[in-house]
Every structure is written in C-alpha cells, then in structure tokens.
C-alpha cells in the first residue's frame, strides 16, 4: 500500500533534521494561520496563485528563489562549520552520510531552485515590459511552468522530513548513484524533483523564445531590443537545447535504478562516461543560461545609472550570441582528467578559453558605458562594480582551469570550488541582487532602502572574498572538495577565515530581510509615483509602478534604440506628451487554477514514484491528464477590459507623467 514508505523514513533518531523539520512545520503553520486570520487566501488565490499575469508570476518565482536561498545557505553554513570544526582529532558535529547529503542538497538547490527561478523570475517580470507588449506568448503555460518548478522545490524540501537526500554530489554521477551503491530514496528524490522542474523549464524556454521573436511592440526591431531581452533570448535558446538532454540523462538513470537497465552500471556493458558527457552537455551551457541574463541586468544598470546609452550595443548583442553558441563547445573540460586524450583536451581547452573573449568584450562595454557618464552610485551600481572586480578574477581562474595540464593538478580541489563560486556569486548573485533593487519599485510602487541595500552589498562582497579566497590557497595545497574531515591542522586558520566569510554572507541575507521589512514599513516615504524612479531608458519605465495588468493602454510605438529615453527627451523638450491615442478595449487571458492543480498531481505522482507507491503514481498521472483535457475544453480564455476603464486609467497616467515631465523640463 505505501511502498517503501514506513515510519523509519521520518528522522526521529537524528536530532538535526528532526528539529529543523519541527521548526519549519511550525513556521509554515504559523504563516498559514496568519494568512487565514487576515483573510488573505482569496487575495493570494486570485492575484497570485492562479494568475496568468507575467509580472505576478515573476514575483512568485523570485519569492521561491529567496526562500530556497535561505535553505541553500543553511546548508552552506553547516558545511563551513563542519570543515572548521572537524580538523585533526575532532570529528565535528555532522556524521559523514549527513554531510554528504548536505553538500549534494546545497549544490542542487542553489543552481536549480535559487539561481534558475531567480533568473526566470526576472525574465518573466521584465521581458514583456521591455518589449512593450501585454504578456508572454503563452500566459497559462507560464503559470504551469512556475508551479512545476515549485513542485520540484517542494519535493527537494520534503526529503529533509521524509527519507533522505542524495549523497552523490549535485550531479549524481553514476556508478555511485546507481541502485547498487545508493539503494535509498535520496537519488530518487533528486531525479524526480529535477525531472518535474525540468519540464517547467523547457516550457518556459518555449514561451520566452516565442515571446521575444514573435511578440514585440511596433517598431521594435531586433537591433532595438534592450540588451536584457537579447540575453534572455540567448539564455532561453540554450535552455531549449540543453534541458532536453538533462531530461534524457536523468531518465536513463531512472531506468537503471527502477527497471534494471544498464546505461551507466558497472555490469551489463554500461558506460558511466556516457552520463558524464550528457550531463555536462546540459551542465556547462547551464552556467551561461544563468550568467547571460545577469549580463543583461548589468547592461541595463550600467546604462541607466551612467545616464548614457550602453557603449557598443551591437557588440554586446554579438558577444551574447557568440557565448550562446560557444557554450555548447566546452562541456568536455569537465573531465579533462578522465583520459579523453591530448588532442580532444586541447580542442575543448581552447574552446573554453575562447568563450572568455566575448565575455571580455562585455566587460569593456560596461566600463566604457560608465566612463564619461554621470554615474549615480546607487545600490545596483555597487553590485555592478563589485561584479566587475570579482568576475574578472573568477574568469581568469577559469582560463587557468581551461589549460588541461593545470587542470590535472587542481581538478576536484577547493581551487575549483573557489572558481565556480566566484563566477556564480560574483556574476549571477550580484546581478540578481542588483536587479532586485532596480526593478523592485516597478513591481511594488516603492523603492528599497538604500543604506541597508549598501550594507547588504558589503556583506556579500566582503563575505564572498573571505569565504572563497582561502579556498584558492587550500586548493593549491591539495585540499580536495567534499571533505567531511580535515586531517591537516595547518589548514585550520584558512578554514576559519572561510567560515567567517560565510557568516558575513549570512548577515547579508538577514539584512536583506530587514531591508525588505523596513522598506515596507516606510513605504509611504518612498513611493514611486512617476513610474520612472531611476530616470530609466527602456520601456518598462514608461508605464505605472506597479503596472496595470495589461501593462500598456496602447502598445508603444518604438523609434530608435532606446525606446523610452527618446520618447521622454522629446516630451521634455516639447513640454508635452504625444497626442492621446485612440484607446481600444483590451483582451486579456483569464486566471486559471490549471497550473497549480497540474503541479499538485505532478508532485503527488513524483512522491509516489520515489516511494514505489504505484497506485498513487497512476492516480497522479490520470489526474494531470484529466485537468489538461478539462482546460482544453473551456471556451472562455479571455476577458475584455472595457475601453472606458482603459481610457480613464491612461488619462490619469498621462496627467501624472505630464506633471513629472513638466517638472523635469523646468529643471533643465
């Protein structure tokens, strides 16, 4: 009846997961009761959970990412604590099998359930606004994608309470992840959670490539799209081509584990190198899926806060697409040491170094955008500068690792760990924090507190360097990754510095929450009435903050590279707006619970598969198919916003903008 699921799966005998479980369940219960008492469920259901509005979905993605960031960081600080405690005679506080689960969960969560939803959240929120359209190409599918990602996150978190997580590292390499060596449910949690969220990611990619290539405001030709849209396009193209490979390789491992197939086993002719190749055909492009939109955010921030158009726009576009293509030619550098031979290693080593060239082009473009500009040192600009300093060093250590003989020396050492954290934190996380600050007022109508924002930046910046520079040193000395116990006491000072660094990053995460709460509390003083708090250049700043559901009363007419900037300058010069357009009723997609129900059945089915509860798995599949057919059967997919409402809102908006522009034209 319940397959492998017994009372033994609940960690009664392990204090750390048990206490964590109880605390989390109590916290969730408290939040649930609070929402119920405030009577907010209908609001949440109608405005967020069932919403097809790309802005709401974007916000939900980012909330998911922030929540999972706390989880992933908890894993990180536990690892650092263990490594600075378990030196010499001491064994630390974590048993080895628990430590192995923690580093696997940390990597999996940070990439799949923090970085990915954060990046996709920004693409959701920003891309349709920047393109000057009303929504993504497939709004309902967008909602489905989000809820599938959330199901994956739910299953990963569930492994903390029921059963265990994989002890195989974040990519679950066979033969360790095969049934013979990992008989428990940990690897199955990993596989099922990633398959479910991976389906959501492929749907997202379809959605955004279509949105960017087929739905843009009139006049928005390719070379007028903001750089963030270009990077989002490149990122989604990579997703579209890379995620199916992940699906295949995880499915093959599942077949091995569930049905006794022999893809990657030691016996039966299986070949575990096939897994390495396929997972990295997905895995290395994944890095660029994350970092390209981050580059897009830096580009928007650099141009806006320097008060100048982005330097070398076309070279930026070209560099983005070059990275998009070259990202497929570097995967083999992940196993230089596994005997591919000198020629192949050389080809992939050179490809891995070449990809640094378009990246370098971008760095120069950002520098020259700031050079000669009137730079405003806001929080996003702090992150931009911090990023350029940090990322260049991370890029250089990457070029170092791309040299096969060097890689032979430092592979699988802490040097490598330091390198990829440097590019991911310095490249992606800094951008996400910059974007969070930059677009927050657009989403909620008030800005975040600058002083606390700068404090958060310094925590990340200093904390990162303290946490990872020692790892470069230790890596050179031969410290390998994934160590649960350190036998050389002379490494202790470096590991202690690394722990302090992690603690400072933790302070930054706490301050992020404080900043959010403080900013909400003082929101009346920090309202963004104009819709354009930063004197922006792209179309998202044309509309209100927060924008109406339909974004624009009429689709903006685009002339020139900086759609909004040109418009704004003309209006300031002439001290008037363009003629009032002919407003039309607007057709918008209706809300639908399809996404959340499909995701519920997917999670149910996934849980059943993990625990071998086959009847429940079949029930979940039937449920998902039934809701699908039910959705397909409806006729009412759109509702009409009457022209009177559109006109009234737009007139009010024009009045506010006129006032604002008039003030601006007086001051210049």
């Amino acid at each position: 009846m319940f397959g492998r699921l017994t009372w033994g799966a609940i960690p009664f005998h392990e204090p750390i997961p048990l206490i964590t479980s109880i605390v989390i369940i109590l916290a969730l219960g408290a939040v649930g009761i609070w929402i119920t008492r405030k009577g907010w469920w209908p609001y949440l259901w109608n405005e967020y959970i069932t919403s097809t509005d790309h802005k709401k979905i974007g916000v939900m993605y980012i909330v998911l990412a922030l929540v999972m960031l706390v989880r992933g960081f908890a894993d990180a600080i536990m690892m650092r604590a263990q490594q600075s405690l378990a030196i010499g005679a001491s064994q630390g506080y974590l048993p080895p099998e628990h430590y192995n689960q923690i580093f696997s969960a940390h990597g999996t969560i940070m990439i799949f359930f923090v970085a990915m939803p954060f990046v996709i959240g920004f693409m959701n929120f920003v891309v349709p606004l920047q393109l000057g359209v009303r929504d993504v190409a497939f709004p309902t599918m967008n909602n489905v994608s989000f809820w599938l990602s959330a199901s994956g996150a739910l299953l990963i978190n569930l492994s903390l309470f029921i059963g265990e997580f994989a002890r195989t590292g974040w990519l679950a390499f066979p033969p360790l992840s095969e049934k013979a060596f990992s008989p428990g449910v940990g690897v199955d949690y990993y596989l099922v959670a990633l398959q479910i969220s991976g389906v959501g990611t492929v749907l997202t990619a379809v959605n955004f490539v279509t949105t960017i290539l087929k739905t843009r405001a009139p006049g928005m030709s390719y070379l007028r799209m903001p750089v963030f849209c270009w990077t989002a396009l490149a990122s989604n193209l990579i997703m579209l081509a890379a995620f199916p490979v992940l699906t295949v390789v995880l499915a093959e491992l599942m077949l091995d584990r569930y049905l006794g197939f022999h893809f990657f086993t030691n016996d039966g002719g299986g070949n575990s190198m096939l897994y390495m190749n396929l997972i990295w055909v997905w895995g290395h492009p994944e890095v660029y899926i994350l970092v390209l939109p981050a580059f897009g955010i830096y580009s928007e921030v650099a141009a806006t806060f320097s008060g100048k158009p982005l330097f070398g726009y076309r070279s930026m576009v070209f560099a983005t697409m070059a990275i998009c293509i070259i990202s497929y030619m570097v995967w083999l550098h992940h196993f230089f040491t596994m005997g591919a031979g000198g020629d192949i290693n050389a080809v992939f080593g050179i490809a891995s170094m070449i990809i640094g060239i378009p990246t370098g082009v971008k760095i120069y473009n950002w520098l020259f955008t700031m050079y000669g500009g009137r730079v405003r040192f806001t929080v996003p600009v702090y992150y931009l500068i911090g990023f350029m300093l940090t990322f260049v060093v991370g890029g250089l250590t990457g070029v170092l690792l791309a040299i096969p003989p060097v890689d032979f020396v430092v592979h699988n050492s802490l040097f490598l760990v330091a390198h990829f954290h440097q590019v991911i934190i310095g490249g992606v996380v800094f951008a996400l924090m910059a974007g969070y600050t930059y677009w927050f007022p657009k989403a909620f109508g008030f800005t975040l507190d600058e002083r606390l924002g700068k404090a958060v930046f310094w925590c990340w910046f200093i904390g990162f360097h303290l946490a990872f520079m020692p790892l470069y040193v230790l890596g050179f000395w031969g410290a390998t990754r994934r160590m649960q116990h350190i036998s050389d006491p002379s490494w202790a000072p470096w590991l202690n510095v690394a722990f302090v660094g992690a603690a400072i990053i933790g302070l930054g995460i706490v301050l992020t929450v404080v900043q959010l709460l403080y900013s909400i509390k003082t929101r009346d003083q920090r309202r963004d009435i104009t819709g354009d708090p930063w004197d922006g250049r792209t179309l998202e700043w044309l509309t209100l903050s927060p924008p109406p559901h339909y974004n624009f009363a009429v689709l903006p007419d685009v002339h020139g590279e900086e759609a909004y900037w040109t418009r704004k300058q003309t209006a300031i010069k002439q001290d008037q707006l363009i003629d009032e357009p002919d407003y039309q009723p607007i057709e918008m997609p209706v809300n639908t619970p399809t996404g959340v129900i499909v995701a519920f059945f997917a999670a149910l089915c996934g849980f059943a598969v993990i625990w071998y509860i086959w009847w429940l798995a079949i029930l979940g599949l039937i449920g998902a198919f039934a809701i699908f057919v039910w959705y397909a059967w409806r006729d009412e997919n759109e509702h009409i916003i009457p022209v009177e409402e559109v006109r009234a809102n737009a007139r009010e908006r024009r009045r506010i903008r006129m006032e604002h522009l008039h003030n601006l034209s007086q001051s210049t």
Binding site: A137, F138, V202, A205, V206, N207, V209, T210, L213, K214, T215, R216, A217, P218, G219, M220, S221, Y222, L223, R224, L240, A241, P244, V245, T247, V248, E252, L255, D256, L259, G260, F261, H262, F263, T265, D267, G268, G269, G270, N271, L274, L278, V281, L555, D557, V558, H559, R567, T570, Q574, Q576, L577, I578, D579, E580, F625, A632, W633, D635, N637
Partner: protein
C-alpha cells in the same frame, strides 16, 4: 498637441516609413504565435531524441555477450511498420485539408484512418518488443538493449501520446466544430505527427538498416 506627430524627424507615429526590419508590425497574431511556439517545442523534442541517439550510438556494441543487432532485427517487419507510419502522416495531411474546408465527416474519417495506422505501427512495435523480451533479449540484458528499448520505446511513447491527443482532438472537433483555436490545435497535432515520422526515418536508418547490414 499636434506638433509632435507632424515632425517626421522625431517620427512619433509609426507609418512604416522607417525600415526597421523584422518586428515593425508589432505582435504577431495567435495563428502565427501558437504554431511557432509548438514548433519550438518540437525542436526541443528533436534534441531529446538526439541525446537518445547519442546514447544508442555509444552503447550499440556493448552487448555484454548477449544478442547483437543483426541477430534481433528483421527488415520485413520494420518495413511494414514504416509504411504504416508514413501513410498515416499522409492521411493526417488529408485530414488537415478537409478540416480547412470545414468538412466534418471526411475530417473525422481521415483522422480515424490516421489513428488506425498509428495503432498498426504501435502494434507491430509491441509485437517486436514482446518477441525480443520472450527470447531473453529484454532491456535488462545489456547496455545495447537498454539503449535500443529506450530510443525506440520513447518514439513509441510519443506515438501513444499522439494517439491520445488525436482522440481528444476528434472529440473536440465533433463537439465544438472548426473554431479558430481548435484549428490551431489541429495544426499543432499535425506538426507533431509529421515530426514523429522524421524521427522514425532516423531510427529506421540508424537502428534497423545499419543494424542489419550484412
């Protein structure tokens, strides 16, 4: 208020005088966007199959002392299978033509024939799988057979999903008629069905023809 719109240099109304290349018209209609998005999905499916082909190519010689390709595959059976699938694609095209003419009876007839041919294909495939498993050449026997069953079985799973979709489409056309959104779905279905043909041609060549070379 009219001064700005009269200034062509600032060009704040879009009259098509500017050459902006693709995208000057604004968002495309649903009849473009929906098939385009579906076509992208089909491309991602092609990537999925290419990973399965890569697995097969890697493992095809790893038969672990078990049966090999030429001992297992029969060209005659696969030829019948292939013809059934290719004709079903042609018939699916006929269904599309009759659907465009809003001819309910013939649309349903052609869709039924499409589905029946799909069932014939699937039946032969299941027969082949069954025979192989009965002979002790199941997917657990060797890495080669694991990759064979996964590649061909994944295509078969797609055909099965296509048949489920086909049944749903027939019911929808029957109940709702040839409405624009139903027609878009029918177009997507036919794109899917043709794509399965393309993948089958690759399987037929790489697995069966090369596998039975003397």
């Amino acid at each position: 208020m009219s001064t700005i719109s009269e200034t062509p240099a600032l060009g704040l109304t879009h009259l098509g005088s500017e050459d902006t290349g693709l995208g000057h018209r604004g968002p495309e209609s649903k009849s473009i966007v929906v098939p385009y998005g579906f076509w992208l999905f089909v491309l991602s499916d092609m990537v999925l199959f290419s990973a399965l082909f890569a697995s097969y190519a890697t493992l095809v010689n790893n038969s672990d002392g078990g049966p090999t390709t030429s001992q297992l595959f029969h060209r005659d059976l696969v030829a019948v299978e292939t013809i059934a699938l290719l004709i079903s694609s042609f018939v699916c095209g006929l269904a599309m033509i009759t659907a465009k003419r809003k001819n309910m009876v013939w649309t349903q007839i052609w869709l039924v024939v499409t589905g029946l041919l799909g069932l014939v294909f699937l039946g032969i495939e299941l027969y082949e799988f069954g025979t192989m498993i009965a002979e002790g050449a199941g997917p657990q026997r060797s890495a080669f057979l694991s990759s064979f069953f996964t590649l061909v079985g994944c295509h078969g799973a797609h055909v099965t999903a296509g048949l489920l979709w086909l049944g749903t489409m027939m019911a929808q056309i029957w109940a709702k008629g040839f409405q624009p959104h139903i027609m878009r779905r029918l177009l997507c279905f036919s794109v899917f069905w043709h794509a399965l043909d393309i993948i089958w041609v690759a399987i037929f060549t790489i697995v069966y023809l090369i596998g039975t070379l003397p």
